[in-house]
């Protein structure tokens, strides 16, 4: 007699953590709570990282000064999304973009709203739309989305290294 194959067993696993983001990320999260985007500058190459983690990954040195960056920026690249993620329900299609906030040398992924999908373009100038102040928490999600600024598009040369 042949035994039935065992095709699977269930062994529940649960681990709890009290996570520490670290000095620089904590500073960034505190800034978000106050409606400010805070980065850190590398003392070696002068790049400003948003959010900063531990040190400059290009130079391998600890960050120096804290830098407040603007909540206006340039859309350097984007994707038109036609399928919703399970945990995020937004009217389709929508645009997910990478924005270089003015004063930062990194880009952040944000939702682009306030413009028909087929009119979104690289180099478009945008501004953060914040949630109502009483909803601000220690999270980048305080920026609900970015929307177009009434400004000429940025020159490709000014953002090509972020594409």
């Amino acid at each position: 007699m042949t035994a039935e194959p065992i095709t699977g067993i269930v062994t529940p696993i649960r681990l709890d953590y009290t996570y520490t983001p670290g000095t620089s990320p904590s500073q960034f999260l505190r800034g978000m709570k106050e409606g400010r985007i805070l980065g850190r500058r590398c003392p070696s190459c002068a790049k400003v990282y948003v959010p900063p983690r531990g040190g400059c990954p290009m130079c391998g040195v600890e960050f120096a000064e804290e830098v407040r960056v603007a909540d206006t920026g340039t859309l350097v690249t984007f994707a038109v999304v036609n399928v919703n993620f399970a945990n995020r329900v937004i009217d389709l299609p929508y645009v997910s973009g990478e924005v270089r906030f003015d004063g930062s040398d990194t880009t952040s992924m944000v939702l682009v709203q306030g413009i028909p999908v087929d009119q979104v373009r690289m180099g478009m100038r945008v501004k953060a739309h914040w949630l109502p102040r009483d909803e601000w928490d220690f999270t980048f999600a305080n920026i609900d989305y970015v929307e177009p600024l009434d400004e000429p598009d940025a020159d490709y040369e000014s953002y090509k290294e972020f594409v």
Binding site: I9, T11, R53, G55, E62
Partner: protein, 350 residues
């Protein structure tokens, strides 16, 4: 075999660090280890790290830890999900290829964010033992019981702890140190019978960095390099019931292959639990009257998981380079109840 030596070593203070992340802990240690060599990231031929993402509960922590090295333009790099001692082994093998002369080895670990005794249970087989969730301290206690039943006394455990605390007084990186006599230790209540709290390691967050160099490059970078004369690692069977827990066959074999020969001026043994130091010393044929055992205080004084094994090699090398001896044995362990063991023999002469 190509002669390879430890030419620099640095470690962080070990404590529960609820301020800094791994990169922030690692950065100053990397700078301290690199400084005496005069090398930069791009002078290094190969970089290898050891860590486990399960400790702090952050996926791909080992990728973001690379930020600390400044790996741009891209470098030759590798990682082991193990104690940094095994990263050092990989770097040593890589140096044997002969085309590069230097290697950077680092390890980091934050045990404090999670319940490390439970996290380590995930090393067990996932079908039979794992689902029972025996934590690391309970497993060590089972081993300690087997060790005592094999003809040892709990006074032996207290003697190990008292020496560790005493030796750690001179170690600025240690978490636990002090002058405590054995009788006082034995008056403490049992924690996981037969272990008392002091037979178990503290919860430590930390990082360590070793720079390796081959041949003439080592002599150029360091006045008194600590040469790796033998290095080997072995593993016991996974099922805890299939081996004699009161002994360590894999340590014995690794020690033979690494050429320990029972001779050393000092030994740094990675024994997070007091009875494990006695098991490892016995397996390596080391005698406390001839060899200074864990002059740093060992893992009972500070135990940054994934780092403490590399620290044993670094401490042994540092002491040889400082002239504290001519021959040292360093040991690292991984897995439950001394399952896997690495032995490294180091020598330095003027």
């Amino acid at each position: 075999m190509r002669d390879v030596a430890v030419v620099s070593f640095a470690q962080s203070a070990t404590r529960r660090d609820q301020t800094r992340n791994e990169v922030e802990i690692l950065l100053p240690v990397l700078r301290e280890a690199m400084a005496p060599t005069g090398l930069t990231t791009h002078d290094i031929g190969f970089t290898c790290s050891g860590s486990s993402d399960y400790l702090a509960g952050q996926a791909f922590a080992f990728v973001s830890a690379l930020d600390a090295v400044g790996p741009w333009p891209p470098i030759q790099e590798s990682h082991v999900e193990m104690d940094g001692a095994w990263a050092l082994y990989e770097a040593w093998v890589r140096l044997q290829h002969g085309d590069i002369d230097t290697a950077l080895v680092y390890a980091f670990g934050k045990s404090s964010p999670g319940d490390v005794a439970r996290v380590l249970s995930l090393q067990l087989d996932p079908y039979v033992t794992g689902p029972l969730w025996p934590d690391a301290i309970s497993l060590a206690a089972l081993q300690a019981r087997a060790f005592l039943e094999a003809g040892h006394d709990e006074k032996d455990l207290a003697r190990v702890v008292a020496r560790s605390r005493r030796n750690a007084v001179g170690n600025p990186h240690a978490q636990l140190s002090g002058d405590i006599d054995e009788a006082t230790l034995l008056d403490e209540p049992l924690y996981a019978d037969p272990l008392r709290m002091h037979d178990c390691p503290p919860i430590s967050d930390g990082a360590a960095v070793v720079v390796l160099a081959a041949g003439d490059k080592a002599r150029e970078l360091c006045e008194r390099p600590a040469w790796i004369r033998g290095i080997d690692h072995r593993i016991d069977v996974q099922a805890l019931g299939s081996r004699d827990l009161s002994q360590s066959a894999s340590t014995r074999l690794a020690g033979e292959k690494a050429g320990v020969g029972g001779r050393a001026d000092l030994a740094e043994l990675h024994a997070p639990f007091s009875h494990q130091e006695l098991i490892v010393a016995e397996a390596l044929g080391l005698d406390e009257t001839a060899t200074s055992i864990n002059p740093s205080g060992g893992a009972l004084a500070s135990n940054p998981v994934m780092v403490a094994g590399l620290v044993r090699i670094g401490e042994a090398a540092r002491r040889l380079s400082a002239g504290e001896g001519e021959r040292a044995v360093a040991h690292a362990t991984s897995g439950p109840a001394l399952q896997q063991n690495l032995v490294c023999v180091l020598e330095a002469t003027s």
